[in-house]
Amino acid sequence: MLRFVVRRLLLLVPVLVGLSVLLFAWLRALPGDPARALLGDKATPEAIARLNAQYGFDQPLIVQFFTYVGQLAQGNFGASARTGEPVLQTFLDRFPATVELALVALLFAIVVGVPLGYFAAKRAGGVLDLFAVGSSLLGVVIPVFVLAYLLKIVFAIGLPGLEFLAILPSSGRQDVRMFATHITDFYILDGLMTREFDAAWDAFKHLILPGLALGSIPLASITRMTRASVLEVLNEDYIRTANAKGLSQTLITWRHVMKNAMLPVITTIGLLTGQLLSGAVLTESVFAFNGIGSYLFEAISTLDYAVLQGFILFIAIVFALVNLIVDLLYGVFDPRMRVQ
């Protein structure tokens, strides 16, 4: 088990090295010189020269590359050109918010998507099946930020005549008048730990709309994957055997069907992390939610290269780690895949 984890982590190294080379090359390939990109068009030649010396942009490329790698190894990912905040610190500060949002989105998608997919497969071709397939298609084709807007109009701002539906907050992570104590920066968890239950409830209310919007992406994939996978398992011989020997339906459903059908679904969930993080960029910006997504959104619109570079690298690491955890979870569902 430990050896497997270590080996997987080691396999991550070449990908990360390659990625940092790519990101380095990317920064070099940007139009204009980096100092001008950082300082803007109105920079004086002296300021540019100073910055060039400060960041070592006047050194040969190969020297610059090793300096860059050395800094990465020391955990120095540079600072935002816009705010001056160090990139790593900002990422860590804002990461809990995005994790909280992504978990709510994923939880919503699993709680709705798995039963929906299961019953759709049980009654394949029926009304529920049509509904499940249809609604999962809608999740695929509606851009997440459009859905986010629509939810915001109806449930936070209020349409004329339908104002009574607008009961949820439209932006932020928590009511600013709520002087909540924060320990972990996971606001719901903080509220529960400090017994400030009104704060936890308020944080949860702020998560509902962005969670629903972001959750529409994994919901579609999870529903379809569960449906396809359950359909396949239901046709297996061992299900017929289980039925023939008179096992209870509950036992068959949980021990035989679901346990076998969940494997591909778990893989899907791992692969969805990338989409969740991309989706967070758009969702968080619509709801002014202070996670890494909304920060990335601003970095993108102002072309804040240090932030883009650092965040992309961190996101790739998170993506890889989530997929490692997913691989380890396989063992829980399938003993053949259990890592020795």
Partner: protein, 319 residues
Amino acid sequence: MTQLPQDAAGVTPTERPPALAAAMAGGVETDEGGTSLWTAALKRLVRNPSAIVGAVIVAAFLIVALLAPVLAPYRPSTTEWANQVTPSRLPAFSPQHPLGLDPFGSDLLTQLIYGARQSLIIGVVSTVLGLLGGALLGILAGAFGGWVDTLVMRLVDILLSIPSLLLAVSVAAIVGRRPESLMIAIAAAQVPVFARLLRGSMLKQRGQDYVLAATSLGLRRRSVVMGHVFPNSLGPVIVQATLILATAIIEVAALSYLGMGSPDPTVAEWGRMLVKAQERLESYPHLTILPGLCIAVTALGFTLLGEALREALDPKTRK
């Protein structure tokens, strides 16, 4: 019952070409006793209702996009009615402007119609570019194998470790804010997907008998790869391209929304139209809903068609 004679009619032993002839003819795969793969797939396709719905939507989209100058009442991106628009108020719908004006003082209906054209151009060009790039890498990896394969696939792995939207953003940042940067960015994000798909597909074909036949006939490797392996690997790639067109249309909107693409804010592009609409969400929700609906319906059309195509070509679903 009506299917039986149809299928039976196609089965005539003489129509089944020998493996050698198939190899010479470019490896046309035969299936269902004499009906070609594509003919059989087409037959299954027209029996599938969701394929019909998808095809109708795609056809309507293509007509609107191609005939935009004829269908649209005005020219796109004109701001000639800007004096009727104030920061807080837009004029009501009128016979001259059935969907009213947008916040820049352009006719909304015209902008929506030309938006279809913009989506089509960006979607198709980026998918073709992505396909070409992916094909180049995939052919390199799939045809040579060995260290070329390892090298190419590691590069693909690295690219796949970045969420596609962020990859597109990175590329768009290099290209700068130009109208064509969206196409290049979306194409770049598709390259690793197509590369991996094509490589897998080619590896599967490489072990087939017709490749052995062609090689033993003394054909050079280049003509075996280009004339036989590559065309036969295209099936899953064409399906993927249809599905990716849907993704591309959504990603165009997302990138426009992020401020990439044309620096002109009045450009008739669905995603870009949503950005300005955001400020008027409360008072004029139709500014958000209409372009959003256009994106969703178009993406739905390509998705339905792509999925139906996949089902039709998938040997597992053949009856």
